[in-house]
Symmetry: C2
């Protein structure tokens, strides 16, 4: 099979066969000795970007990408393994809240997460702000954690979906990232490798999200559900608003603190409600509850009883972290200095630009612009006034936790332009916009 013939098929809007997709993926996993070169891959990626793929093609692509590496086989364990994945937002620490809550309800959550890139954060970076926390577990350690607390929070090893690594790096430099079938295959190939039976997707929508419009978000959610289902997963996808940051804390240590506060019952309403909603859907997909109401009731009771918090404490301990952070936030990395960005008038906050806040946190050192960048877990931003809240002059909107004065100077004008104040409170927008299942 000549690469040019495969490329030509997609160029001419044809449907790629399973064997053509497998040839493409196996070349991406290992170019050495293959008749494919990177310039073949990138030409095909552009043809896919522009001409799309059918759900069947995307399903084969996803499967081939998962099969290009190690896939955990946990089929000897109870069939209640369900994970959640978010397409990335600002202040989105729901994984740290719903993982423990779902596990407390009896779900097995083998959560394999990524690192932050650009303005959106990553669960691994947040967890690693907990002193000692180890995201690299062996398969045996993972199995023990699932049988014990029900929750393991780990990183992707190099042998998970290696084809995705080549393709993602190539997409990044050839302007072929924003393709629904390619995003679908990238997300689901890694999730299939976890050996789960069900997946709840949180597709973020809005100016702080990768997908800016409802139509794009719906198309992605729809593709994820179709392709996940075709690959044997029980799927549910929520489209949720990501115009303002979720909760109030943005940054790594800061988000751990807010997640713990939420598990203690003191969380902000948006974060609490979204975490409960997503955890309940995980409980339902794990077949632990019969109805949505029963699933939600189950999650709320674990939140109220503090059982979710205890699971998080166990997980931290299981993975080598210092569980005392739960009760003593000073054990987390913190900056010594804080400044505030203030309002200059009376009124209501009408918007907070999540993307600008995310970029500001990244510039402060809390995120990466390139995959090899080191991050500073201590820095970040606390949103003191969220949309709909009343403010008066010289009231703090953003509390900036910084380490480097030069970076602070860089982010101040960004943050000054990241909120608007009006005379009237904005209409309250729902957080969960839609569910696709």
């Amino acid at each position: 099979m000549r690469p040019a013939d495969v490329i030509q098929t997609k160029r001419d809007r044809g449907e790629l066969s399973r064997s053509q997709l497998e040839a493409f993926v196996s070349a991406a996993a290992k170019l050495e000795g293959s008749s494919w070169e990177k310039y073949h891959l990138s030409a095909l990626l552009m043809a896919i970007y522009l001409n799309g793929m059918t759900p069947a093609e995307t399903a084969y692509l996803t499967q081939a990408m998962a099969d290009s590496g190690k896939r955990l086989d946990l089929s000897d364990m109870p069939p209640c393994r369900v994970d959640k994945h978010s397409t990335g937002g600002v202040g989105d620490k729901t994984s740290l809240v719903l993982g423990p809550l779902a596990a407390a309800c009896g779900v097995h959550v083998p959560m394999m997460s990524g690192r932050g890139l650009g303005h959106s954060g990553g669960t691994l970076d947040k967890l690693e702000s907990i002193p000692g926390f180890n995201v690299n577990l062996t398969e045996d350690q993972l199995r023990d954690a699932l049988m014990d607390s029900g929750l393991a929070m780990i990183g992707q090893t190099a042998d998970i979906a290696p084809a995705d690594k080549t393709l993602y790096a190539l997409r990044d430099v050839t302007a072929t990232v924003e393709s629904i079938p390619l995003i679908t295959a990238s997300i689901l190939s890694k999730k299939l490798s976890e050996g789960i039976v069900g997946l709840v997707m949180d597709v973020k929508c809005g100016r702080g999200a990768f997908m800016k419009t409802r139509e794009q978000s719906r198309a992605l959610a729809d593709s994820l559900v179709k392709v996940g289902t075709a690959n044997g997963l029980k799927m549910s996808a929520f489209i949720t608003a990501m115009d303002a940051p979720l909760g109030r804390y943005v940054g790594n240590s800061l988000e751990v603190i807010e997640a713990i506060e939420t598990l203690k019952g003191n969380g902000p309403r948006d974060l609490t409600e979204l975490s409960v909603k997503l955890a309940a859907r995980m409980v339902k997909l794990a077949d632990i509850a019969d109805t949505d109401a029963e699933a939600e009731e189950s999650v709320r009771s674990r939140l109220a009883s503090g059982r979710g918090l205890e699971v998080f404490r166990e997980t931290i301990a299981q993975q080598g972290g210092d569980p005392r952070v739960i009760d003593d936030y000073s054990r987390l990395p913190r900056t010594k200095t804080v400044v505030h960005v203030m309002t200059d008038r009376t009124g209501y906050i009408t918007s907070i630009d999540a993307e600008k806040v995310g970029i500001a946190s990244c510039v402060l050192g809390g995120g990466r612009t390139r995959a090899e960048d080191k991050i500073d877990p201590a820095v970040g931003i606390i949103v003191r006034a969220k949309p709909g809240e009343r403010v008066s002059p010289e009231q703090s909107v953003f509390e900036v936790h910084y380490r480097d004065g030069a970076k602070l100077v860089e982010v101040m004008p960004m943050l000054a332009s990241a909120f608007t104040v009006g005379d009237a409170a904005p209409a309250e927008e729902p957080l969960v916009l839609e569910e696709i299942a």
Copy 2:
């Protein structure tokens, strides 16, 4: 300027700026030390293939590709330098006829040709079947030839449009060959390097041509005229039929013989008429004649007087070839053996498939499937019965000049299926379908 931003512009159907196109081309000319890799080039080529380019973009691309290498500056010579270029056909030896005829009329023809690839032949290969003929002239030799006979027939040196070499090789393996703007830039960048003032294009159309339909041919002709004009060339483009081979002789020595016969006034009508038509347009673009009729009359008189034949004889001698081939075809490489493909019924030839004949000639050894293949100048096919001609059983349709019995066995069934016989003569189709200027 990041490659991804340039690619993204075209991906999103934007117009590439002159500086973006220059960055792309200079990378193609020399990847070393550039921020572009081949995978960037191929992704952009696919985006161009699928989303097209405006005439302005194509004009800048063409200019940048010409400027990527050496451009002959002949502006100190008389401004009557006009060339012809064909998009490639089967049996198309018009260059060998019209070059001498146009030069005999006073046109300076610095003809830079290519080699054959696939089923279509190349002028250089045909010329090199003449013993001693040297297609590699220095600039001084070229200038002398133009001032002397008016005609030089040379190959492209490595320093002509080097960006085209990289891009063409990459297009060939990434299914991005058949793109009007990319074809336009490839052809015209090389022609601009000849230092000509005018160009006559022969865009072949039909089953033996690269462009199979009238619409495709018209789109290419239109693009060539627009982009050539934008780059300061006087342009004219003919769309001509290429369903059956042009003339009767296909193969390298064989086509030289037919070209010489045509210059002697004994040529087949289609080849003679097309050569006269194209040469006349060259005369007109060179501003040597005031009207089309005058230009054509001028060419016909040089054909009738034998002056065209004398120019060809001079050119052969100038370029180190043996001019005695003009009078003695046995001095050209010839095969020892010939077989015939016969009809088995009475009727009229209704079609000859130029592409099949071209492939058969290539398989016999007369052409290349890869650029590095060696060719055999002696082999080829003479079409003994052309469409519209009456045949009876066991009359020869193809006279096959072969060297290798195994290859003969391979081409016989091809040739047996390369013609059809019917009860009635087909309607005569015009050879020149359209002119675009």
